[in-house]
Each structure stands twice: as C-alpha cells, then as structure tokens.
Amino acid sequence: MSLEFHVLSGGALFIETTGCPSCESKACVKVCAEQSPGPVLILGEDGRPCLKPTLAEIKRGVCTECLGCLLECGIRGNDVVRFQAPLEGLDAYVAEQEEGGRIPVYRRGM
C-alpha cells in the first residue's frame, strides 16, 4: 500500500504505508501536526497516515514542504517516506563534469 501526493514546487512525496500500522512513533503525523496551516498527514483508522486536505489543495500549497515527514520517518519510523524533487539537468551536469575529471565532493571517497 502506498500514499502519493504532489506538492506546489513540482515535487512529490511517496509513502510506502504497508508497515505503518506497526510503527510505534507515528512520527510523520506528529511532525506534520506542528506545521502551519495545519496537518496534511493525519492518522487513519487503520494506523496508516492519510491525507486531510484534498490532493488539489495540497498541490496548491497547503503542504509547506517542510520535509518533516521524510526526515522524522527516517530516524523514528520505518524510513518509508521518499521525496522526489525535479532538478532538471543536474544529473546530466554532474555526469558531464565527471567525464572531465571534475567530481563533486559527495561523489568522492571519504
């Protein structure tokens, strides 16, 4: 099971909710409740996060894209939230730089 919604910036959030009922922290819902103008994610009766506003409202900017759900689920939950944000051309730019021996720091060894 999954939950997917698109946000104002053009990005999208994906939550793989299959294991959410067993999550004790419900961290995504808790952090979202702290955000103005109010929560996007609320706890459903089945113990999974669900959407309070409509998809259209979220796309218009109700979700502030604080990325709290992504980060909190990562350290307190099951790490099942993913965020995709378009950055058109960045991967191609990095690949081109690497071909010329100019490797970004994060692609080098530690």
Partner: protein, 423 residues
C-alpha cells in the same frame, strides 16, 4: 533580467514590423559562408555575446568575399569578447548607412513609467553623450494606459532637437513598434543602436532586448530560462538553479557562480568554498571576512524570504555540485525565517548526497543559524547525527560573521591536517 542575443532581439523586432537586415546565426565558419552566399555579399559578421561595446572590441567584422567571411568567422570563434567566448555569430547583409539614430524604450524607476529615449546623432557612447550633453538625448515618458500612438510619437519627435520633417514621419512608426515590442514582451529595455537610415528606409542594425525576469513565465514562446542578472550568459548550474523558483513562490533561491571553474581562486592562491546565506548583507559581510583568511567563495547564494525546506534541499544539491569546492558555509542573518525548515532542507540534501555516512560530509561545513527557530535548526542536525561529524561546525545566534569565518578557518585547517587534503 533575461538579455536576448542580438539575433533573438532582431527576430522579435522583425515580428513586430521593424525592418532588420537579412541574415541568420551561424555556429561555424562553413555555415557562415553558406549564409553569406544565400543573402549576398558584402556582409557583416557579428559575434553574438551578451556584452556591450562589442564593435570597439573587434566583435564586428565586414567581408566582401566568401573567403573573408570564413576568415572573419574563424577569427571570431577563436576569440573572447570581454572574457566571454564566442559561440555563435550573426551573418547579415551589410547596410548602406546614411545616418545613425539611437532609439530605446526602457523602464524609468523614478517615474514608474516607460520612457522613450531618442538621439538623432546616433548612439555611439550613448551613456557618455547623455552625461555630457543631455540635450542630445531626448526623453519622453509614456502613459501605459494610453500607449504610444502615431500622433504622440510624432509629437515626441517634433520636440527632439534637430528633428527634420522626414525624421518625424519616418521614425514615428518605428517608435510605436518599438514601444509595442517593449509592452508585448514585458521588456525592461528595447534598444536599437543604431537604427540605420538607409536608401530603403530605417533598419535596426543592432538590437538589445532585456526581458523582465518576473515575466519570463508569461513568454514560453521565447524559450528563456529564469536565471540571475549577471551580465553574461548563465552557466549550466545557474540555469538549473533558476528552475527552483519557477514553480514555487515561497522564498527565493538565488544562485550565481562567481568562479565557475575555480580558476580565479587558484590564480589568487585562495581555497575555493561553496556558500549560502540568508540575506545578502550577511552574505557579503561573511565573504569579506573569508577572503583575507585565504578562502574564495566560488558562488553567491541567497536563500531568504522563508523558502520551503524542499527549496533548500534543491539549492543545496546545486551548490554542492560545484566540483572545485573544499568547504561549505551556510550563514543566516538574524532572520525571521523559519530556520528549522531551512535546516531540514539542508539535512535532507546531505543525507541523500552522503548516504554512506548518514549525511556526514567529507569536506568542512559550517552552519550558523541565527534567528527564528535557530535552536530547533541546530537540533535537526543533532537528531540526524550530522552534528557529530568532525567536519561539521554548528553555530548559533551568539556569533557574528567574523566569528563564523574564523571558526570555518579553524575547522578547515583541522580537516586539512587530518586528511592531508592539499588546498
């Protein structure tokens, strides 16, 4: 501001009914000669670079044979005009110019109106002319509710010193079309310098068109990307960064590369570092403190106005994609923006870029959060284990820009000593 190349500007003018020379853009000498053959000799061969005083810098050449076209094109493609490499040239018919006129429509911030500028003595060194002898450049504000109609254009020209009847009748339609171009394409400037008076009538021998940044989205037909005002063509990373604000009005992510290949830092004997600030004032002050300590910010970035965390995530990925950097600083001014959101965006980017270490970087990084939710911002870094990295320094509101620069210097030296990295 999105400045169009001359050939793009001329296309716009042509579409608005203003005569321009026959010609096309070429990307190599063979194509240049082919265009010259099509339109007929003699021709002008003009470097397409986004800089002024191109003619004085040797960026415009004339050719009467196809061999001369090829020679001129080859020479231009090997050159840089004001340090900008020539990647395209415009080959167009050489005009028989009897007289040169300067015409422009631009925004006058003091009047909050468009203003028409006219010099009947031409436009060479127009800025100096306007400063030394303002009477030679006449100005007329335009009421945008009325627009510029032919009779009003004639009245403007009639009041222009030295205008003949032929000038008034011949130039009024061009002036009206120029104003229509300015309005239709949301320009900040439309300049024809010079408007050549030829036996066939007035022809725009050159064209400068600057589109208002904020209106680019209204003109998909122009194929422009939103980038910062730099006076040069945007770098690929600047174009990518320009997309971040396109669909998201919440806060801004300004990004300009000051030293795209790191050569300036190298020549100055400085260490290239990446940079992001909340607020331009804090940004410039921190840069001033960093340079004497031996560092050179290879980019300017300002992420203010309360950007979303997702915007911070994106711009951080762009900033850290600069391959030459040996460090990164994020400094906020005493800001009212919600810094915990800012921190979340940065942390999300770091965790994605450095997955093996859970977001801990391999170069020195300093973060100074000062303002609203600054303690929460620092806590986000702690919660995700990034604060415990030996190469991360987190500062709060009790530091100024000098403290931050010095702390970064200390961190960088420690990193250098420990890793053996050569600056």
């Amino acid at each position: 501001m999105a400045r169009l190349y001359e050939y793009q500007g001329k296309e716009l003018l042509r579409g608005m009914g203003i005569p321009v020379p026959r010609g096309r853009v070429a990307r190599d000498p063979i194509e240049a000669a082919k265009i010259a053959q099509e339109i007929g000799l003699p021709v002008a061969v003009k470097a397409q670079v986004l800089t002024g005083k191109r003619g004085k810098s040797g960026g415009i050449r004339f050719a009467v044979t196809l061999e001369e076209v090829r020679t001129a094109a080859r020479a231009l493609f090997r050159e840089s005009i004001h340090a900008i490499p020539v990647e395209a040239i415009l080959v167009e018919e050489r005009l028989e110019i009897r007289r040169e006129i300067y015409l422009a429509v631009t925004a006058d911030p003091s009047r909050r109106q468009p203003v028409v500028l006219i010099s009947l003595t031409g436009g060479v060194d127009i800025e100096e002319t306007a400063a030394q002898d303002p009477r030679r450049v006449s100005q007329a504000p335009i009421n945008i509710r009325e627009g510029l109609l032919d009779h009003a254009a004639r009245n403007i020209l009639r009041k222009t010193p030295g205008a003949t009847s032929a000038d008034i009748v011949g130039l009024a339609p061009v002036l009206c079309d120029l104003y229509r171009t300015y309005r239709q394409f949301d320009c900040k400037l439309v300049e024809v310098n010079p408007l050549a008076l030829t036996p066939a009538g007035p022809v725009a021998a050159d064209a400068r068109v600057d589109i208002d940044d904020d209106a680019i989205w209204r003109h998909p037909e122009l194929g422009l990307r939103m980038t910062e005002e730099t006076g040069r063509a945007p770098t690929p990373l600047e174009v990518i960064a320009g997309t971040i604000d396109e669909g998201d009005h919440r806060g801004t992510a300004h990004f300009i590369q000051l030293d795209p290949d790191g050569s300036l830092a190298r020549d100055l004997g400085k260490i290239p570092v990446a940079f992001d600030c909340v607020g331009t004032g804090a940004s410039l002050t921190t840069m001033d403190e960093l340079v004497p300590l031996g560092y050179y910010p290879v980019n300017f970035a300002d992420t203010s106005g309360n950007p979303s965390a997702s915007k911070m995530y994106r711009i951080t990925k762009v900033i850290l994609a600069q391959p030459q950097i040996q460090g990164y600083l994020f400094i906020s001014c005493i800001s009212s923006q919600q810094l915990d959101n800012t921190a979340r965006g940065i942390v999300a980017a770091l965790k994605e870029l450095f997955p093996a270490t859970g977001g801990q970087p391999n170069i020195p990084m300093l973060f100074a959060f000062r303002g609203a939710y600054d303690e929460e911002a620092v806590q986000v870094f702690r919660d995700h284990g990034i604060a415990s990295s030996p190469w991360v320094e987190l500062l709060g509101r009790d530091v100024d820009e000098r403290d931050a620069a010095r702390a970064f210097h200390k961190l960088h030296r420690r990193w250098r000593d420990a890793t053996g990295s050569v600056p």
